[in-house]
Amino acid sequence: KESGAKEQPNNTAGITAKELRIATQPIPAYAPIFVAKKQGWLEDKLKQAGVTVKWSSFDAGPPMNESFAAGQQDIGFLGDSAAIIPKAAGQDTRIVGLCAAAPQGLAIVVPKDSKIASAKDLKGKKVAVVKGSFAHHLLVLVLKNNGLTVDDIQFLNLSQADSATALAKGDIDAAAIWEPLITRLEDQGTAKVLVDGTGIKKGLLVIVATNNFAVKNPEIVKEFLLAYQRGSEFIKSNPQEAAKLIADEVKISPEQLVKILPKFDYSPVLHDDDIQELKLGEEFMRNAGIIKSPVDINAFIDSSYLKAAGIQ
C-alpha cells in the first residue's frame, strides 16, 4: 500500500479511472482472463495505481452490449459479430486486441444418429442458430460452399441453451453452435460435429474497450492486455493446471476443459488475416441486413495498445 501511494504519480500519465470494469461471459473462449482473474494478476498490478477491478458476468451478448451502452463497462469480450452489431448501431467502442481464434470452437452439429452426412444434406432441414452470431456467419459460409443459401434451409433463431434441448429431442435437424456446447453435446452423446470452422471461419473473438476509457487510460488497457497475454501463456504451458483453475468460472469440468482449451489459439495479436476476417464478417452482416450502417473495420481496430504493451 505504502509503495503504491508512492508510485502513483509516475503512473497517472495513462490512468484517470479509479476502477476497471470488465464484462465477461462464462465461456472457455475467454480462458486467459479467467486465469488472470484467479491469479489476481490484474488486481496486483492496478492496486499500485489505486485502481480496483470489477468483474461482471453475462450469459449472452445483448445484455452485455446494453450494459456497455449504459456506460457501466470499460472492457469486454465478444464474438466478432457481436462486437460489430452494436458498433454499427453507434456504440462508442474500439477493438484493442484479439482474445482468441478458434475455427474448431465453432461448428454445425447434428444429432448423433442423424442421416445428414454432409452439409449438402442440410437442404430443407431445420437448422437453429443465434441470429447475428458468428455461428450464423459460419452457417451461411458452409451453405454457400455447398451451393446453398439460407433460403434453402429452415432457419430458426434459437438460443444456445434451447438448441441443445431441441437437438436432444429431435425437433431440429442441425444447429450452428460454439464451445463449450459442442464438446458438451458430444460428450453427452447427443450430437456430433458435421462441419466446424476449420478453413471456413476462424471464429474470432475480440477484446473491446470503450473509446472514452481507452483514450483516458491507455496504461490500464496495456496492463490488461499484458495480463491477458500472461494468462494465455500460462494455459499453453500448464493446460492441466489452468483447466483446474478456471473450471468453476466457466462451469465446465477440468476433464472437458482439457479437451476444449487446445481448440483455441489464445493470442491477443491482431494479424492481417484476422482483420480481413473481420471485414468479411462485416460484409456478411451488411448483406444479410443484420446491420443497417457499415462499420469501418480499420477504424474500429486500434492496435496501438498491443504495440505499447510490446505484444507481437
Binding site: 451478448g61 451502452a69 453507434g90 456504440q91 434441448t165 431441441a166 431440429i172
Partner: protein
C-alpha cells in the same frame, strides 16, 4: 306560514336556474375538452421531455433513441407491412393460448370452487405450479411440445391460466352465504345453483380474472416467441435486441402496449354488458 311568499321564492329559484343551465351547456363543452386534454397530457409531456433530453444530449441515441427515431422505425415497419404481419401472428397465438386458458380456467375454477374434494386434490399441485414463471417453463415446453406453435401456446396458456383460475375461485368463494341458504331452502338443483347464483355472483371476479389473464397472455408472447420464432411481435423485440436496435425494441413494446389496451377495452365493454344489475362507484 306565508305560503304564497314561499312558493314565489321557490319559483324564483327555478327561474334563476335557467341562465345558469345555459351557461352549463357552454361549460359542459369546456369540461369535455378539458377531459380529453387530461387523457393525453401526461403521455405527451413524457414524449416531449424524452425528445428534449435527447436534443440536449443527455440521452444517447445508441442506447435510448429519441421519439422521432422510434416514430420513423414505426412508420418504416408499418409501411412495409412487417409490423402488421408480426401483430397478426402474435394476436393469433394470444387468442389461442388465452382462449384455452379461459376455457380451462373457468371450467376448472367452477369445479374446484364447488367441490371440496376436487379442491383438495388439486390444491397442492396448483399452489406449487402457479408461481413457476413461464420463462422457466421454456426448456420443458420445448421438450414436451417441440419448438413449433404448441410450445408457444403452452407458455401463453400457463401464464393466463392461473390468474383466471384464481379469480374464478375467489369469485365463487365470495358467493354470499345468504344466497346459498336460499338455494338450499328452495332445493335448487346444482345446475341452476351454479348458473343462477354462483356464476352471476362470481362474474365480476371472473371478468377481472379474464382481464388480468389476457394481460399476462400478452406478456407471455415475448417469452413464448423467444422459442425459435420467426414471426410475432415478441420475436420482433427479441430480434431487435440481438441486433442492438433499441428503436425497434421500443416500437415492439409500444405496439404490445396499445394492442393490450385495446383488448382490455373490449373485455371491459363486455363486462358492462354482462353486469347490468350493479350500481357502483366510479370515483368523483
Amino acid at each position: 306560514m306565508p305560503q304564497k311568499e314561499q312558493s314565489l321564492r321557490a319559483a324564483g329559484m327555478r327561474l334563476q336556474l335557467r341562465p345558469r343551465s345555459l351557461s352549463i351547456v357552454n361549460s359542459l363543452q369546456k369540461v369535455k375538452l378539458m377531459k380529453s386534454v387530461q387523457f393525453v397530457i401526461l403521455p405527451v409531456l413524457l414524449l416531449v421531455i424524452w425528445q428534449l433530453l435527447f436534443e440536449i444530449g443527455i440521452i444517447k441515441p445508441v442506447t435510448m433513441p429519441p421519439p422521432t427515431k422510434v416514430a420513423r422505425s414505426f412508420l418504416e415497419l408499418a409501411g412495409n407491412g412487417q409490423l402488421l404481419k408480426h401483430i397478426g401472428v402474435s394476436i393469433l397465438r394470444v387468442l389461442e393460448g388465452f382462449g384455452l386458458a379461459a376455457l380451462t380456467g373457468i371450467v376448472l375454477g367452477i369445479g374446484i370452487g364447488l367441490s371440496k374434494v376436487l379442491d383438495r386434490l388439486t390444491d397442492l399441485l396448483i399452489q406449487v405450479v402457479k408461481p413457476i414463471p413461464p420463462i422457466a417453463w421454456i426448456p420443458l415446453a420445448i421438450l414436451w411440445f417441440g419448438i413449433g406453435e404448441p410450445s408457444k401456446i403452452y407458455i401463453i396458456f400457463l401464464g393466463a391460466f392461473f390468474p383466471i383460475l384464481i379469480n374464478v375461485l375467489d369469485g365463487i368463494r365470495q358467493t354470499d352465504s345468504k344466497f346459498i341458504e336460499l338455494s338450499r331452502v328452495l332445493e335448487v338443483s346444482k345446475g341452476k345453483f351454479i348458473r343462477q347464483v354462483v356464476i352471476p355472483g362470481a362474474l365480476p371476479a371472473v371478468m377481472t380474472g379474464l382481464r388480468v389473464g389476457l394481460g399476462v397472455a400478452w406478456m407471455c408472447v415475448v417469452a413464448a416467441e423467444l422459442i425459435a420464432a420467426t414471426q410475432g411481435i415478441g420475436y420482433l423485440i427479441n430480434d431487435a435486441r440481438q441486433l442492438s436496435q433499441p428503436d425497434v425494441v421500443l416500437v415492439g413494446m409500444i405496439t404490445i402496449g396499445v394492442i393490450g389496451k385495446v383488448m382490455d377495452d373490449l373485455l371491459k365493454r363486455l363486462e358492462t354488458r354482462l353486469i347490468v344489475w350493479k350500481t357502483t362507484y366510479a370515483g368523483d
